[in-house]
Amino acid sequence: MKHDGRWWPEASRVRVFMPFPGVEVPHLCAQCDDYPCIGSCPVDAISVDETTAVVVDREACISCGKCIEACPGSVPFLHPGDNKSTICDLCGGDPECVKVCHEARYDALRLVHEGMSANRKHFSRQPLDVARDLAVKLFGERGEEVI
């Protein structure tokens, strides 16, 4: 909504995968300390802003998909509208998702200021891998077989 002005789940920078009912996996950029996506871009369309967020220059992007391959979690995707690489930019430091989560009274999301850390990269995972772990956490042994 913030970026596109429409209800557009597939354009959201926070995509929620659900390979099995109840096993929902929010999937978004983890801001790795070494930014493999930036190094992979053949046209230097990807950079980092002062908030450590990844920013895509949509004019420069050639939709080659190299950043998706380079990302350990395959987080970037080509936007269903302009087909350009799409990555969470933290809304310039004031993320809309955190604001609406608070306004909606869920308060499941919170903005946490923390320094750069090698741990960040561990959050960049394939959704199916995360789902396999979550399924076991939710369903115990049965979780091993549902994904």
Binding site: P19, F20, G22, H27, Y106, R142, I147
Partner: protein, 617 residues
């Protein structure tokens, strides 16, 4: 095309293996809206006067999975399944909560209309502006969880291969389990393992068409709305109301298993022989503390969060997963089987869902069989096992037996009414006193005898065009039209209802249609329900209803309650007669409930006059 709609419907003929896009005129959409309303209009246009000859389980029936303009915008979007019902021979707007609805709209379709019959098992895949029929041989016979797992993997891999845009998110789907495949008349259209469009028996309609599933994956935005800024404000208002319902969000209906029975005495116990119990082993916290692995669960854009997710992690039913169980499943897979252990109830709920039974309809038939066993009218020899109340293993076997049409399961697979007729004829006994249904549709877990239930009263089911459906009942010929008839056509969840005023304001902001509560109470809703009544009374081919005689509660509701705080009470027959007559009059139907000529003319349904004239006599 008005706002709120994707703009087209996918029309699939499975016999000819053809797919085409169809649209409806704006005035049709304004009048019938979507979901339940539009479905009955499509049936009028395509079947109309031929209704009595059309076999609900034949290729000429039409199966529809329709969204509405509210779907995706108003909290709690659903998909509405409809067509001619093999149970009532009328129609039901049967809805299930599912992201399938939103995937369909973002793929550019407001619904899927299916006719014909595939020569072998298939599923329909809908992606951005494209529909296709795909082989489902490898899915046939699979339980719900396996079906979901295979479809999600297969479709995401296929789409990623076709269009490398990064990871593809999982599609949405509706599907049938073994019960639907084997044409168990009251089987459900399933989604998300535990969600079901249960009333109407549309699982068997899909099964009769060899249609295992419809899968949708859209990458587009939801449609444009008429007034986006107003819509945002109104959504916030709806959300504020829904999120403030703290108690409702915390328990959902998952605390009803004990309280509906113990405090209202309106819950089915041992096939409705009783409606009261005070088994505190079955109270909400007994489910919550041990089994709820998610206390707040919701589908896309639902802010009511009434769903709970349960999993059994140890013991003999280890690995069973179900949502809730919500009240209906607690009642029907619990007290109505004489079961008062939460784990046993979760096991049977999970099994019933995996098999694709309707948790109300299928379980009602199972309890009907158990009462016959209790009375010696169905024997251990006929069943192959003992079927005592409270015996979880026995009900487990019975659920599988019906789903696979094994032994006497073949007869029970036709639903409570038809099984009662067939078994009764075989045995030379009238089994109707034990069959708890109205016009073939098994009754929801809300009895009318105590008159303390929050939903069901005297003629709620007796006069209902959707029979025993507790989600949309006959109320007073006014309120339900702007309530459940509107939400089923909208298509959104009854549990996300805020106020009718707000829902209509949102409807206007989305579509721009000048519709009001008043217009739905006087025209739109009346038209939809009148059409449903017309089809219901045309009936056929296997059964036709007798006006008044069949506009009645099941005999059981006139037996005195045997125990509890309302011991001795029965449904008030005089009140049923009086209020049913008032309801028919309010609707503009004659004293036998046949729509009057002037009513048909007023509602632009004059084409039905020849069919109604035959029924008037």
């Amino acid at each position: 095309m008005p706002r709120g709609y994707a703009g087209k419907y996918l029309d699939v003929d499975l016999t000819r293996e053809t797919l085409r896009d169809v649209t409806f005129p704006e005035e049709t959409l304004e009048a019938y809206f979507g979901g339940r309303g539009l479905a009955v209009k499509i049936l009028l246009d395509r079947i109309g006067g031929r209704w009595p000859e059309v076999d609900a389980l034949g290729p000429e029936n039409i199966f529809m999975a329709l969204t509405g303009p509210m779907t995706g915008f108003y909290p709690g979007g659903r998909i509405c399944c409809s067509g001619k019902s093999p149970l009532s021979n009328g129609t039901v707007g049967s809805t299930a909560s599912s992201e399938f609805a939103h995937e369909l709209k973002t793929a550019g379709y407001d619904g899927v209309i299916v006719t014909g019959k595939a020569s072998s098992p298939v599923y329909i895949l809908v992606t951005d502006d494209l529909g296709e029929i795909r082989d489902a041989g490898h899915l046939w016979g699979k339980m719900g969880s396996e079906t979901i797992k295979i479809i999600n993997r297969e479709v995401t891999e296929e789409l990623a291969g076709r269009k490398p845009v990064g990871l593809w998110k999982d599609p949405g789907s509706i599907y049938i389990g073994p019960a639907g495949e084997n044409i168990v008349f009251n089987s459900a259209v399933m989604s998300k393992l535990t969600h079901a469009a249960g009333y109407g028996g549309y699982g068997s309609v899909m099964g009769s068409k060899n249609l295992k599933a419809i899968v949708a994956k859209g990458r587009g935005p939801l449609p444009e709305v008429h007034d986006l800024e107003r819509m945002k404000e109104l959504w916030d208002e709806a959300h504020r109301m829904l999120i403030a319902r703290d108690s409702w969000r915390r328990t959902g209906t998952g605390y009803g298993g004990w309280s509906t029975a113990a405090t209202m005495s309106s819950s089915p116990v041992r096939n409705w022989q009783e409606e009261w119990h005070d088994e505190r082993s079955f109270a909400g916290p007994m489910f919550e503390t041990r089994y709820w692995v998610k206390k707040y669960w919701a589908d896309f854009n639902c802010t009511a969060n009434c769903m709970k997710l349960s999993c059994i992690k140890s013991g003999r039913w280890k690995g069973d997963i179900t949502d809730g169980p919500d009240y209906e499943q607690q009642a029907y897979a619990g007290n109505n089987f004489g079961i008062f252990d939460p784990g046993d109830c979760i096991h049977l709920s999970a099994l019933i869902d995996e098999l694709g039974h309707s948790a109300i309809g299928g379980a009602n038939t199972m309890a009907f069989a158990a009462e016959l066993y209790q009375r010696g009218l169905l024997t251990e020899e006929e069943l192959g096992f003992k079927l005592e109340w409270g015996d979880t293993e026995a009900f487990d076997r019975l659920a599988r037996m019906i789903a696979h049409r094994e032994g006497v399961g073949k007869i029970l697979a036709e639903g409570t009414l038809r099984a009662a007729k067939k078994l009764g004829e075989m045995k030379g006994v009238d089994l109707s006193p034990y069959a708890v249904h109205v016009k073939g549709i098994e009754i929801g877990a809300h009895g009318t005898r105590s008159d303390r239930d929050f939903l069901a009263h005297d003629m709620s089911y007796a006069a209902n065009v959707q029979g025993g459906d507790h989600t949309s009942q006959a109320v007073d010929g006014h309120r339900e039209h702007s309530g459940s008839v509107f939400s089923d056509s909208g298509v959104f969840c009854n549990f996300c209802r805020t106020s009718q005023e707000l829902a209509f304001e949102i409807a206007r902001a989305i579509t721009g249609f000048p519709i009001t509560i008043d217009s739905w109470r006087k025209v739109n809703g009346v038209r939809i329900v009148t059409l449903q009544r017309a089809f219901l009374m045309m009936g056929g081919p296997d059964m036709v209803w007798t006006p008044i005689e069949d506009d009645e509660n099941p005999p059981r509701f006139y037996e005195p309650l045997p125990n509890g705080p309302f011991k001795g009470r029965t449904t008030d027959r005089d009140l049923v007669v009086e209020r049913r007559a008032t309801y028919f009059e309010t609707m503009g139907w004659d004293e036998r409930g046949i729509p009057r000529k002037e009513t048909l003319e007023r509602l632009d349904l004059a084409e039905l006059e020849p069919s109604m004239e035959k029924l008037r006599k």
